[in-house]
Every structure is written in C-alpha cells, then in structure tokens.
Symmetry: C2
Subunit: 303 residues, 2 copies
C-alpha cells in the first residue's frame, strides 16, 4: 500500500465564462508554465470540466503524487463545474478553507473552487473579481477606498480594513459589445481607430445629463446617415456614453474615497481618462494576471 | 400601338427592415386584399426588391394597365431598393410629388417610394413613421403636440400646424430585445407573464434617478441569483428601466404639450401606463394599420 504524497507544485486556475487560464506554479508561487484557452463556462456542462482541465494539465501530473488545483471564477457558479456558493458582503475576501472540494474521477488531482461574494441589498454578485482584490490587498494591505475592475461586467467595490464592504456591477462592456456588434449601430461604429477627444466629450455629456444618455445612442446612427460622421468618432462616442453613464451612477458613492483601477491596461486607461474628464483622480494598478496574484495569496495565506 | 391605361386600383406598400406589408386598394382607399410577409430590407439586395414585390402582387396585375405602387419605409433607405432621400425637419410631411420613381423591369407597375425625414441637429432620421403621422393628421388636422410611436426605435415627434417640427429617436425596443435575448439577463427574464406593479415601480425609479438606471440592469440578474426572483417580475422591471429612461429623457421637452401614442395596442398601453406613472396624461390613437391610413392620405391628397 502506497502513501498519498502531495506534489509541492500546484496549479492555479481562473475559469471564467469564456476563458480558462491555467498556471503551473511551484511552492513559492513562481510560474513554471501557463496556458490560456477558450473553454469557458458558457460552453461546458458540469461533467465536461474535469476532462477539459485534465487535457490541459496532464503533462504536469504524476501517478505518484496528488497535485492541488485551486480554481476561481464562473466554474464555481450554479451552472458551472460545482456550485462553490457565495460569501455574503460585508465580508473578508475568500480564504482557502472556504473553498469547495470537487469530487474528481482522476485520483492525481485535488480540486478546490473558491466561493464568490454576494450582496443581498442592493442585490449583486461577483465571482472571480474577489480573487483579484485579494491580490491587490496582498500588496496594499491598508487600502480604504473603491476598486474599479472594468470589463464585460465592470465592478466597483468598496474595500475597507481588508473587507469587501459593498459593491456594484455595471453591464457596460456587454452592452457595448451588443450595441456595436448586433444592433443597428454596427453599421456606424465598425472598424479601427478611436477618437480620444470624442470619447471624453461623450463621457462628460453623459455624466452631466445622464437622463439624455439613452437618447444619444440612436443619434450615433443618425450622425452617420445625416452628416457622414466616421466610425472612429462614433465608436469612441458609444464607449463614452456608456462609461459616462456608469461613472455618473457611481459618483454619489465616491465620498472622496480614493479610486484604484485594476485590470487590463487598455480598458483601465480608458476608464482613467473618463474619470479624470469628470474631475476625479484615480490610481492604476496594472498587473498581467491580477487573478493569479490573488490565487497565490490565498494559497499561501493572506496578509 | 396601344395606349397606356392606368389601373384605378393601386397598391400601398409598407416595406420595413423586417416586414413587407401590401394592401391592394381601390380608388377610394378601400382595401380589397392584403398581405404581410417577412421580407424586409435586412435580407434583400437592391436588385431583389422588384422580384419579391411582383411575386406577391402578380395576381393583381394585368398586361393592359399600369398599376401604381406607393411605398414607404426602409425600402427607401440608401441600403434599400432605391434611396428616396429625406425631407429636412422642420418640414411638412411628405407629399406624393416628393416620392422617387423607381425604374422597374416589369412594365405593368409604376413604383414610387416616399422620402423619410431627417433632422440635422440634433441628428436624427425617420423612415416610415412620417407616413403614420400623415394618417393621424388626416384625422386630427389641428394637432399641436407630441406624437410618440413606440417600437424597435421609438420616436417622439413634435407636430405643429401640420408640420414635423422636431423629433427624437430611442433604441428602447432594440436594447430590450438584445438584453432579453442575447445578454447574461436572458437566463433571468425568459418566459411569459408580466408584473404590471414591477413595471411601474421600475419606470418610476428610472425616471426619478436616470443616472442609476444603468446600474439597475445587472441587478436583475443578481436578484435572480441571490433572491430567486422570478422572470415575471424581472422582465417587467427590465422593460420598466428602459422605458423609464426614455421617458426621463423626454420629460424636459414636454412643456405641457399633449402627448398622443400611435401604434400597436399592447406596446402603446405599456407606454401609456409608464407615462401615467410619472404623472403625465396621454391619448391613445390605435389603428390596425396607421401606415396604410397615411399612404391613402398621401395618394388622395392631404388635408
């Protein structure tokens, strides 16, 4: 009879709606290998997750040891691999002992999925962003302020004393994608190029008159038809209208708190210029993989 | 050599983005036959229009006479059958002599397409709604007020002394369709049933705090996940948020003008309850085919 031996190396996984990111790490959190594939929750049934994961990590596994896999993101949703539940805000960010262990057929792995965070009132949920926040707080332990994580569903999170106090989600990125790819506006905003001037102008306009923002959308199409305005301008204005609405909605919650943007550089820069356009200063906290930083922090113990 | 004889009967056509409606009329505007098919601008190239039209009206045509066909709608767009141009607001509604004659291969028909109306500043366009307005004004010649035509792209039109003074378009219907069918919200709003109470509540909330409306969207998904709120409530709230935004944007232009809703009964009733919820009274002008009424009025001479 052989004894179970744990592999000192482990695997960090960010499994979202559209992408699966895998990092093979050593004990200290150094990345030995990484993979990014399109195999998100949107296309998988619960029974398919294990096979997909194994197909990408098989070469790191051995029959003699058990390799730990720590997962965050939508794989822990009700429609994901296994429901990892939610912590309830206000709350600490998730710790390793709050992860749900997944029963796997393959004996070489031990998979745990981290919970998300829910907020009863006003109702909201996050799954994945909490791990990015852990990574940020590992660096900046005494942060008291707002963290904005732009994206398909951008999140604004009030963090204080290492806790998630309150948060709010906007569908800005998804609405932008739907309008620019699938609505009547697609004929007017497709192509490359981006007018920073028009972006900022549209942000300010939506910020000052949020009630008018919804009437600005069809106007983009009309400006194309009536004035032959180009896509470089109109795409920037579409982005500016939507981000301006988001910023207008958040304004009352700023209360002079510092704001830090976490995420991918291009999108964070866009939000930074939007926030500066309405007179708010903001810090950028760019990292190639904020989620990995969080997974490492959670596995090695926070703080 | 035979002389050209005009058919006393004629054909009225409303050719939109998704539907083609055809009415075979007598001289007095009585409908002898009608057809509705899905063959809209969205799926046709310019050279295909004539064949599609002929396939649906061939049985009404004769080799001995020329039958007049009067068209309004998106068939007159740049990407339609033939560009029928725009009148420029403020302006009278279109008259028969402003229609563009289309060259057809079939000698049995004479096709004319009515122009739309454009507005240079703020940029806006309509194509088809102007014909519905003609039909309404034929009945109510001295109307001075706003006409709201709810739909995929709802229009608010200020009409005075028989003229289109100014107008504004909202993408409310299209955004509702995109969000309810293609966004993350589809899981939470699909099904039947509609809570009038929640619709009105969401309208009021969006009307009072238009800046917050964009933050209300993801909350629908979260209410489903966190509180298991049902689709009957959430679908009504989605509709209420979007119509409430539209109504909030229009509010400053009301100026105590009367408001008349023109269009399909279910949607007009929804807008009526939204407007009444924010303290505005409104008239309904329901007609099975407001566009036909307009085409008849234009062909027989307005007023």
């Amino acid at each position: 009879m052989t004894e179970t031996v744990m592999n000192p190396n482990w695997i960090a996984v960010d499994w979202g709606t559209t992408n699966l990111r895998i990092w093979h790490c050593d004990q200290a959190g150094n990345v030995l290998d990484e993979t990014k594939v399109q195999a998100g929750m949107g296309t998988l049934t619960a029974s398919e997750y294990e096979g997909v994961l194994i197909s990408h990590i098989d070469h790191h596994l051995s029959d003699d040891v058990i390799t730990e896999v720590l997962v965050c993101g939508m794989a822990g949703a009700r429609q994901g691999w296994q429901d990892a539940g939610y912590l309830t805000a206000p709350c600490d960010t998730p710790a390793l002992n709050q992860a749900v262990t997944v029963h796997t057929a393959d004996p070489r792995i031990m998979v745990r999925i981290l919970p998300g965070i829910k907020q009863p009132e006003p109702a909201d949920v996050m799954r994945g962003e909490e791990t990015q926040i852990v990574g940020f707080l590992k660096q900046t332990t005494d942060y008291n302020g707002l963290i904005c994580l732009p994206g398909t569903h951008s999140k604004w999170v009030h963090v204080q004393n290492g806790q998630v106090v309150e948060f709010q989600t906007f569908m800005t990125g998804e609405v932008y994608d739907l309008l620019s790819r699938s609505s009547v506006l697609k004929h007017s905003v497709s192509g490359d190029g981006f007018s920073q001037f028009d972006f900022v102008d549209a942000v300010k306009s939506a910020f000052e008159n949020p009630a008018d923002a919804s009437s600005q959308l069809f106007r983009l199409r009309a400006q194309h038809l009536v004035h032959d305005t180009g896509a470089t301008i109109l795409r920037a204005r579409l982005s500016g209208i939507l981000i301006g609405q988001e910023v207008a909605a958040m304004q009352r919650q700023w209360n002079h708190l510092p704001i830090t943007l976490i995420g991918e550089e291009a999108l964070c820069s866009l939000y930074k210029s939007a926030l500066e356009a309405v007179g708010t200063s903001v810090d950028l906290n760019l990292s190639a993989a904020p989620t990995l930083r969080g997974l490492i922090a959670i596995r090695t113990g926070k703080g």
